[in-house]
């Protein structure tokens, strides 16, 4: 499984540029480069950090137990009704996303657009309602860049429901759609079987993004 992990990471890294090229070909709106560049000097959010005592407790509550060396770990930013079910899924929440990413070092970060909808701790990050929460999401992606953790953004709701995420998604390594037409035009598909949203998406299917270059005529 360690090999699988290496393969996943390698595939995601390999496929990301081609997916970006693909998107720029099919979408008029993809001409803007990602705004977050590795090494860019981030500004801090006003209001100060979380109380250290509280942060310590929250991290302790969230870090998964030690995993076997051959098991891949998926970091997941999702709605509570999110669909990916894997043995080694690490749910990530706004207050602790950065320290948890740094501590647990998942093999890949998956962000569902629906995480920004109501009924989620990430609610408001897709609109003007909660810029701080959008910022938390950006910080998560920035952290993954720094730690070389591949990021996958998955459009599972229409962009107009979470308009602020359009540009955030552009900063991820891979952007996919759960259904045709979600996100921008003709994104590669990473669907789930149950449109209601509670069918498991297995890790094997997730790592299937390695096949994206062949989907929908995109890629090289």
């Amino acid at each position: 499984m360690r090999r699988l992990r290496r393969v996943v990471v390698a595939v995601l890294r390999r496929v990301a540029p081609s997916v970006r090229r693909f998107r720029s070909l099919v979408s008029r709106s993809a001409s803007q480069p990602p705004t977050i560049e590795p090494g860019a000097q981030p500004i801090s959010w006003p209001g100060g950090p979380l109380s250290p005592a509280l942060r310590t407790i929250l991290v302790e509550l969230s870090v998964p137990p030690a995993r076997a060396s051959d098991q891949a770990l998926v970091g997941y930013i999702s709605h509570p009704l999110g669909v990916i079910e894997v043995d080694w899924r690490l749910d990530l929440f706004p207050n602790t996303v950065v320290p948890i990413l740094e501590t647990a070092r998942p093999d890949v970060l998956v962000i569902d657009a629906s995480a920004a909808l109501a009924g989620s701790p990430w609610a408001g990050s897709g609109s003007e309602i909660d810029p701080k929460r959008t910022w938390d999401l950006v910080e998560a992606i920035r952290t993954c860049r720094r730690l070389e953790i591949p990021t996958v953004f998955r459009w599972d709701v229409p962009t107009h429901r979470v308009p602020m995420l359009r540009r955030v998604a552009e900063t991820c390594d891979v952007v996919v759609a759960a259904e045709p037409g979600l996100g921008s035009d003709q994104l590669p598909l990473l669907p789930h079987q149950d449109a209601a949203g509670d069918e498991a998406l297995q890790l094997g299917r997730l790592t299937g993004v390695g096949k994206l270059a062949g989907i929908g005529g995109g890629g090289s």
Partner: protein, 681 residues
Amino acid sequence: MTEARVSVVVYSPANMNAIDGSSVWVQTVTLALAEVPTVDVSLLLSHEVVSGRLLDPLISHPGVNVVDPFSEGWKRGLTSLSVDEAAGILAGKLPADVVVVRGSAAARRLANEPSLQGKLWPYLTDIPQHVLDLDAASRDLFREVMAASPLILCQTEELRTFLEGCHPEVAGKGWLLPPTIPEGVQPNHLSAPSKTDLRLCYSGKFARLWNTYEMCDLPARLSERGIDAGLTMVGDKINRDPDRPEYVGKMKSRLEKSPGVDWVGGVSRERSIELMSQAHVGLSWRSPELDDSLELSTKLLEYCAAGTPPLLNRTEMHERVFGSDYPLFVSTEEDVIDSLVDLAGDPDLYATALRSISDIARAYTLESTAARLASLVDGQFPHVLRDPDPEFDVEVGGEAPDLVEALNRSPTLSVRHEPTNAGDHHVIRIRARPTSSDAGSHHLVYLPFGGDGADSPGTNDTIVVPGSSTKRQLVSGFDVDAERVVTIPEPVDEADTQRAKTGNARFHIAWFVSASTGSGEIEQVAELIGQLRRHDPRLILFLADDGIDDYSSLLRSGLLELLEQAGPGGVVFEGRPFGLSGWLRKIGFVISFQADPDSRTATAMASGAVPVILREPEEESWYGDRWSHGSIAGMADHVISLARDGTAWSRDSESARVEAAAIFGRDAVAERWLSLIRTLA
């Protein structure tokens, strides 16, 4: 400041000789300010006058003073005024109580002018409107501009919420000033379009993201579907596109040569609206890249005023304005074609679209903008509304800005605030003296935090506390005569809280804590959130504090147990939300375990968050009985039932909003204070 008048100068570097968004805004805001009875308005021009298209209505308006620094001889040589020169004029030759300034560079320069401190009302659009664009420079901009500005004008609720959520300096200072359509526009009632007659219109700039290039294809593409369509293109400004240098030439060629397209060029705003009214459909279909815009297109509103339903992208903002069932939302070019084909063959669909837009324009008239500005001026300059012969002179000693704001709402009170003339901490001393008699002053002591200052009052002073449990505490704990204690709630700025909730806010529960929140309350919340989360994982507790640096004591008091009860993701720590009213837009419930509302809980209720209160049935409270529960299970049942039923939640939300305004609103609280002072007199 002249007596009971407020002088306002409008300034923008925009060229009033050209018609664009900035200059049109300057014109309409100036005209709206001229309609405010208590305002004297001047417009400081920044360019020499060469065209009267926008300026003539201002120059001929008896209520507007157009100040032309070129004809005044204040400016020689070049044909435009620099911002530095404008700052000099505003600081010297043209003094004002308020300077309405548009544009971030201009606002920043004026903010550094000592004599303009506290006088700026900035309106900024050239600012970051996405967190990815925030940088140190934008932070500095807001820090500097807001230090000199008591408020900031925002075109939409979306922009206000965003700015207040990003910049602590803006929090609580955002004022809505929606776009304005000209006066006198009457909708033109055309017969429904048909396959042989479909008239389209676009008015505005020509730019890549505005899809104007693609629009020129529409008549030809519709012709392929059997529709005889014509498109009138209005405007003369073709934006350059740095990524596509050939864009300007190609766009111009399209406008000139596309079959079925009639390019009329640049015209006056009135003529533009007239051309819109001669079309069946207005085009406002844009690139999805603009879907996260926080601004509302004035053109959209002009289409509505002209009686021409616009075709536009589906966004949350557009759904708020047009309704989610508006039939002409589109996203792709294929959607546009399909919608127009449908419209040409279905008169009922056209009638539905017309009905949808019939009332929209009314909220954006010059009259409604003037009313907003009048309310703003009245709030900022309470003396303009004050009765020339006030009933009482009132002096408020101590840090009580909210109370002073509320008392200022009463025209018969002449209020003087002496923040440094305080007694002990948390003790507000109030002296009220009737102006019509020689009777002496009446002394009151306001204790917003109850017993903290209970030993301070003089023997005969009337004591005011915010609630009955505070009163009980005072009477039993400090041996104060109950007859001397009056309850008046803390005031809430209900106007600021009137902001639309987000969809499905009913899954979000607010709880306000402080470092002194006790273990008993934390245990109760743990039990409550545990019950709620077991029922529905979408019920999230958003915990806001009042600036706690160290949560150690709360963790020792049971917060850890609460986190475990809530489970992963069940609690989000928000710190101290610096844009409280904006933050409350996502909150559907507020929980409290105190019979006396604290100001944040009352503010949440005024915003439409349904209060869920645990209190003994016999306990007196400002909260109505319908919001109160005798047990945690009762609280949980209530939340669960409303979370399940969006209609029921909306009904209760509106009731909470109305009830809170009637009890905690500034006018209501001012009325209680006035009654009390009269009683004492």
